[in-house]
């Protein structure tokens, strides 16, 4: 299940024009199959990808096209069936579960579509959650407070999730994804449940993070508005990359709806 040198890795869709050399994660000819009900489903049929610091990549495509599968591979939540996925040059298929978990903690920040905030924890504690076992409570608390202030929730620290609006929850979720200082932020439908104004705030926040902390943002979205804000749009159809649209320097423009 390792890399397959016989196949041409760049066969489907190419990201050719701008491949930075300092890629955080890079995949070559990645295939992902899984079994459901005795049938083998090929979710990804040989795709290449590459995420560099401060990238903003939007993955679009119809449902069932393999978007979530791709996001899971990028997030080290899943391992490719074949093809080569390297995190800073290391083959992720060689990681043990423990290593994978650690790398995930060091590298990836997740923002889930339905937030998945823990209802018994306050906003601040939810943000602290990924680092709660680190036994550095003071440092963690400072950082969490700082992050919540940054997403504009400095006055909501002690509110529980059910006391927050959708946009506020989303911002808590983003603050939480940043607590471990990730290199990549993976956001599943980051504006899915939000109104346009709140969505704008989220996108602005992404831009800020990329500019200030070199965080790469990869988002799966149905929302053209988000796709327009990205500087690279990858269209997945039926497990293959159909087109890659590059719109660099986009985050400096003012994207009107």
């Amino acid at each position: 299940m390792g890399p397959d040198p016989d196949e041409d890795g760049f066969g489907t869709g190419t990201t050719g024009e701008t491949i930075p050399t300092d890629a955080i994660i890079r995949g070559t000819d990645v295939v992902k199959e899984y079994e459901t009900g005795g049938q083998v489903v090929r979710a990804l049929k040989g795709v290449d990808f590459e995420i560099a610091p401060s990238d903003f990549v939007a993955v679009v495509g119809p449902s069932g096209s393999g978007k979530s599968t791709l996001l899971n591979l990028l997030g080290l939540l899943d391992v490719a069936t074949s093809g080569d996925v390297r995190l800073r040059g290391e083959d992720v298929s060689t990681f043990t579960d423990r290593e994978q978990t650690r790398k995930r903690k060091e590298t990836i920040g997740f923002v889930f579509q339905s937030f998945y905030l823990i209802p018994t924890l306050t906003a601040l504690e939810n943000v602290e959650m990924p680092r709660m076992l680190d036994r550095t409570p003071t440092k963690t608390r400072e950082r969490a407070t700082q992050l919540l202030e940054r997403v504009g929730l400095g006055d909501r620290l002690d509110h529980y999730p059910d006391e927050l609006s959708g946009g506020q929850k989303q911002r808590v979720a983003i603050a939480r994804s940043l607590i471990n200082d990730p290199d990549i932020l993976l956001a599943d439908e980051p504006t899915g449940n939000l109104d346009r104004d709140t969505g704008d705030q989220i996108l602005d926040l992404f831009d800020e993070l990329r500019r200030d902390e070199n965080v790469a943002v990869v988002t799966v979205t149905h929302d053209d508005y988000v796709a327009e804000a990205a500087d690279r749009v990858v269209t997945l159809i039926d497990g293959r990359i159909r087109e890659t649209e590059s719109r660099r320097a986009n985050f400096e423009e003012d994207a009107e709806p």
Binding site: N72, G75, L77, D78, D97, R98, T101, R102, R104, K105, E106, I108, F110, F112, Y116, I118, P119, T120, L121, M129, P130, M132, L133, R135, P137, T138, R176, N180
Partner: protein, 393 residues
């Protein structure tokens, strides 16, 4: 940093676990109740059993330095022989165990006891004894020094038939006598294992019996001057040189047998009590499985954010262990309360706990906590091994 905050920082797993439990309050409460029942069952059976044992052993107190001698019946050619000790036998016992007091006991077969209204006391036994005051204290009335024409009854005979000193009972012993006696005294309760089964007995003065056959003799040695062991051996030598004619048993031995027997019974009962902890384990396992399923996506998030499997296991096991600890914490005072009531009823002192009894409370607590911990392991393991991708779908 305030102390709570420090604790949360120091033991984040416990803090998280506690909060998670508070989310399903009713379910947690039910699981805790199951543990409480288990802990109380083990603890209360243990302490209660010990109190009961103490109560029974008290009956042996008056029998230190005492042995019983019974004929060893022989069944031959359809005839039962050697069923009684004769006056001569009693004398020989007295000579063999020199310095010992020998008290012959009549235990007539086919004796009936009736109240004055004519109802039969089926359970009562009739025994002829020279001086019950040697062994027993009176609860009501007094045991006369020169006892010839009244009777003394055991506490259960009195309680079950509403009898008290001054009442009369009609006693019929085949071939001996059939007359009415006044009750002089009711004895202190002795427990059902007491020698001579005093609680169920109607004691009639030995002088009422004309026959010189005795079913039993009690040999009593003053332990400050003699030894019951020596007396026992002397009687054995005198009677059983060629064949077993009499059985000699020291009451102390009976006491030990009783203690051993009772220990077995008590352990069995505690085993029954432990079954309730098994039920508690099932309840907790169920609670934790439900919690794990319900929070699957949440656990997936923890895993996605870099919580190792071990951390997820610790978290869920901590939750189930907390259920056990809280259950035990509630169970202990309840158990002690029940134990105090039992102590009061059986021993007359609520604080008469024995070390052995208290040990059972400890056993209950330990079992309660360990059960909860073990019950949480499988659900925790299952939750931790769910791949985060599946959990988040």
């Amino acid at each position: 940093m305030n102390p709570t905050r420090w604790l949360v920082g120091r033991f984040p797993t416990l803090a998280l676990a506690r909060r998670n439990l508070s989310r399903a309050t009713l379910r947690s409460a039910l699981a805790i109740t199951a543990v409480v029942i288990g802990v109380v069952a083990i603890g209360a059976i243990g302490t209660g059993g010990e109190a009961f044992k103490q109560d029974q052993l008290e009956a042996y107190e008056g029998f230190g330095g005492t042995a019983t001698v019974e004929p060893d019946p022989v069944f031959e050619d359809g005839n039962l022989s050697n069923t009684e000790l004769s006056d001569g036998d009693i004398d020989r016992i007295g000579q063999a165990a020199s310095g010992a007091t020998v008290l012959p006991v009549h235990e007539p077969i086919g004796a009936t006891v009736q109240t004055q209204t004519g109802s039969l006391l089926f359970m009562a036994q009739v025994k002829g004894l020279e001086n019950p005051g040697e062994f027993y204290e009176a609860r009501n009335g007094t045991i006369p020094d020169n006892w010839r024409r009244t009777i003394v009854i055991g506490s259960r005979v009195a309680d079950q038939n509403d009898l008290e000193p001054g009442d009369r009972l009609r006693i019929n012993v085949t071939d001996e006598f059939d007359r009415s006696f006044e009750i002089a005294a009711v004895l202190e309760p002795q427990g059902f294992t007491a020698p001579l089964g005093a609680d169920q007995t109607v004691f009639v003065p030995a002088s009422q019996f004309e026959s010189d056959g005795y079913e039993q003799a009690i040999v009593r040695v003053d332990t400050t001057t003699g030894s019951v062991d020596a007396a026992t051996q002397a009687i054995e030598r005198e009677f059983n040189a060629r064949e077993e004619v009499v059985r000699v048993e020291q009451v102390q031995e009976q006491r030990e047998q009783f203690t051993a027997f009772f220990g077995t019974i008590n352990q069995f009962l505690i085993g029954v009590g432990a079954i309730s902890l098994l039920v508690a384990a099932v309840t907790i396992a169920n609670t934790m499985l439900m919690a794990a399923i319900e929070r699957e996506s949440e656990i997936g998030v923890l895993r996605a954010y870099g919580y190792p499997k071990r951390a997820v296991i610790s978290l869920l096991v901590a939750e189930s262990t907390i259920l056990g600890v809280v259950g035990a914490a509630i169970g202990v005072p309840l158990t002690l309360g029940i134990g105090m009531v039992i102590n009061q009823l059986l021993l007359g002192d609520p604080l008469a706990f024995t070390a052995a009894g208290l040990r059972y409370v400890g056993v209950g607590v330990a079992f309660g906590i360990v059960t909860a911990l073990v019950a949480g392991l499988y659900p925790a393991w299952k939750a931790a091994n769910k791949r985060p991708v599946e959990a988040l779908d």
